[in-house]
Point group: C2
Chain length 409, copies 2
């Protein structure tokens, strides 16, 4: 993309009410636009990051045999009444609205109830199981406060996967597969070495659930971790009983803050029982379906990555999700000609700063936007038949031959 052909530009200032680093930086770098607290628009660069994150998740889930759907946001109360979750005592962040033909609807804060309800049409026999269904979908949560940029949204993009099984063993098997897939996903997103699977409270049906917590100073959660970080616990389960259960002792744990980027639950019969999701087994008996659910906050993880890697110059995207691989600057007449040539070989990978601006301004925008590699072709580098590459993450620069640049990169 040529910068002269996109409406995006970097901004000197973020909105005054934008107190979160991720929100301020993503706004200044032209990735997002704030509508109201916890509600953002995704501009071309931001949408590309979101799509790159989705692609990684989709690849890993499809490899497990998961099927993608897209469910509605508007919710009939009935299935939620059946589980008790229509009540604000159970879910206190509903957005509800009146439908003009009469009655109330809700905006889905999550999708267990409609998913189970829908699958009653498709599951009747043990032959229909197991099955795994996921979506990327905007959730709505009526948060009292939302001051963390895209880390806590009133409207936010989530990947929610639900699995359905004939037995607890099969749920356990798939749950373990998802754990591995989540490990691969966070590694590919570039936060594998600071994101931990943490024990959290499990609810009625399971002793524990698991959260994926990225250690982050501005994270809203408090977690405890042992020396080698092999055991990480949400504060809510950091007590003697749980520690004993895990064979650990309290004095060895340290406290830190973290952002929850995912959570996985063995729900078992929690929703399938009240909603009547049943199947006929091999011996013709009616049984209740075992269920698991697996969330991953897509827009939140984008905010976490923005927040985690940012430095005093701006954003720093991992290669795997950066909106463009290269930020291209041509300097001088010959340098600009060569830059044009390079741009045309890979328009989709290059953000080409063809604006009539000083190199210094362009370099500052390249850094603010956080594009992994800056490519500068100038009359000076061309004198050696070379271009200069600078890595955003490390600030390291090196030269490559122009021919090599055109072919290899």
């Amino acid at each position: 993309m040529r910068l002269t052909k996109t409406f995006i530009k970097t901004l000197r200032d973020a909105p005054k009410d934008e107190t979160a680093t991720n929100g301020a930086l993503l706004t200044r770098a032209g990735y997002i636009h704030k509508e109201l607290a916890g509600v953002y628009d995704y501009l071309p660069l931001g949408l590309k990051v979101i799509e790159n994150i989705k692609s990684i998740i989709r690849e890993e889930l499809n490899a497990l045999g998961c099927e993608e759907v897209s469910m509605a946001a508007l919710q009939n109360p009935e299935p939620w009444e059946a589980t008790g979750r229509w009540l604000s005592e159970k879910i206190d962040i509903w957005f509800k609205t009146e439908v003009s033909s009469g009655g109330e609807l809700g905006l889905a804060p999550t999708h267990e109830e409609p998913m189970v309800n829908m699958l009653k049409t498709y599951i009747s026999s043990y032959k229909d199981l197991p099955l795994y269904v996921y979506q990327f979908q905007n959730k709505f949560r009526n948060e009292l406060r939302a001051k963390s940029g895209i880390l806590r949204g009133r409207e936010f993009l989530m990947k929610d996967l639900y699995s359905f099984h004939t037995s607890e063993e099969d749920l356990d098997r798939f749950y373990a597969e998802v754990e591995k897939a989540y490990g691969r996903i966070f590694a590919r997103l570039g936060i594998g070495d600071c994101t931990y699977e943490a024990f959290a409270s499990g609810g009625i049906f399971s002793k524990y659930s698991h959260e994926y917590q990225t250690f982050l100073p501005v994270g809203e959660d408090t977690v405890y971790y042992n020396n080698d970080r092999s055991v990480v616990l949400n504060k809510e389960v950091y007590n003697d009983e749980v520690l004993a259960d895990l064979g650990a002792s309290k004095e060895k744990f340290e406290e830190t803050t973290a952002a929850e980027v995912g959570n996985i639950f063995k729900l078992k019969f929690k929703y399938s029982e009240p909603l009547g999701l049943k199947y006929i087994d091999e011996s013709n008996e009616q049984k209740t379906v075992y269920m698991g659910c697996y969330g991953l906050g897509v827009s939140r993880v984008m905010g976490v990555i923005a927040e985690k890697f940012a430095d005093d110059k701006g954003l720093v995207w991992p290669d795997t999700i950066a909106p463009y691989k290269y930020y291209l600057v041509g300097i001088g007449e010959k340098g600009t000609d060569a830059a044009e040539k390079f741009y045309k070989t890979r328009e989709n990978e290059v953000l080409y700063d063809d604006r009539d601006k000083r190199p210094g301004e362009k370099f500052a925008d390249a850094e603010l936007m956080g594009i992994p590699l800056r490519v500068v072709i100038s009359d000076k580098t061309l004198a050696d038949d070379e271009a200069e590459i600078t890595e955003r993450k490390t600030g390291k620069s090196w030269r490559v031959k122009i021919d090599e640049l055109m072919q290899k990169f």
Copy 2:
């Protein structure tokens, strides 16, 4: 995809309250699931059709230099109050909701106001114009009645494009480009020969707007067309004055019903004026930005296509948007082996009916689902080293050599 590996199955019956053909057929064929009137989930096959439609639109718009974004559904009242459209006298299909920190929010039924408002950050000079911004986004409309399947949704997917210009001439130029792009889009969607650009009322700033009307018995609009269909008019502008304007006489027109799949407006200053979207021109004067908007109902057009081409056996998808190109059936031991082989060469294009069912049942499902080409490989066809292809649209069958099938198709 193997049918044994997807949760999708065809259903004998649609829900009793599903009176629309498109809704009933798409439900029975496993493409959608009804949540409530006008609110549907998109199952794996349905989501693929939606994504295929989006790809065609995206390609055509990107070729015009349009940039994709994704804006929020939750709306602050302010920009809508500035144009008067927060009032139910102006927009009577708002869904509104209370936010827990105080105040009211709306669910966007369209996006002119937030788009103009957002672009005030990005447009300041004539150098920033023209620009074209679009999104694929779920709109919410609190319809009193929604009985037309996915033809009229309370929650539905729309492509909305907005253009911004320094002059009326430039708006006219781009408007004409979008007209051509819409022609290409509807042609690629397979409804080019039954979709017409119709005159409709223009509002305050333009004499006319244009609608894209697909002639359809269950369409909710009434349109009038002349002999060679070179002039098509929405009923609202079918009067002597407009006909005189277009140099046509009333007696030559016929009436029919149609479904509006798109609409385009020269908005000029309608929203930019009250919202204060201005720029500095070459002579340093402040001017108001000219604006156009261009809608296309993505889920509606899916319903229109389903409705338009369906026959007594089920759906009939155009090749360009079908979820799969081939519906594969193997019969007999050798036939099944060869089918497996063919499937493995193109898993993404083939819906492989590997279920333990009679061929007749499989053929009926192939027809209900509307996959363009049915490929049958049986011990009998293999005796001639052949497979049998049947085209869904025409019912015509022919034989191809197995080698040719494996390579060419």
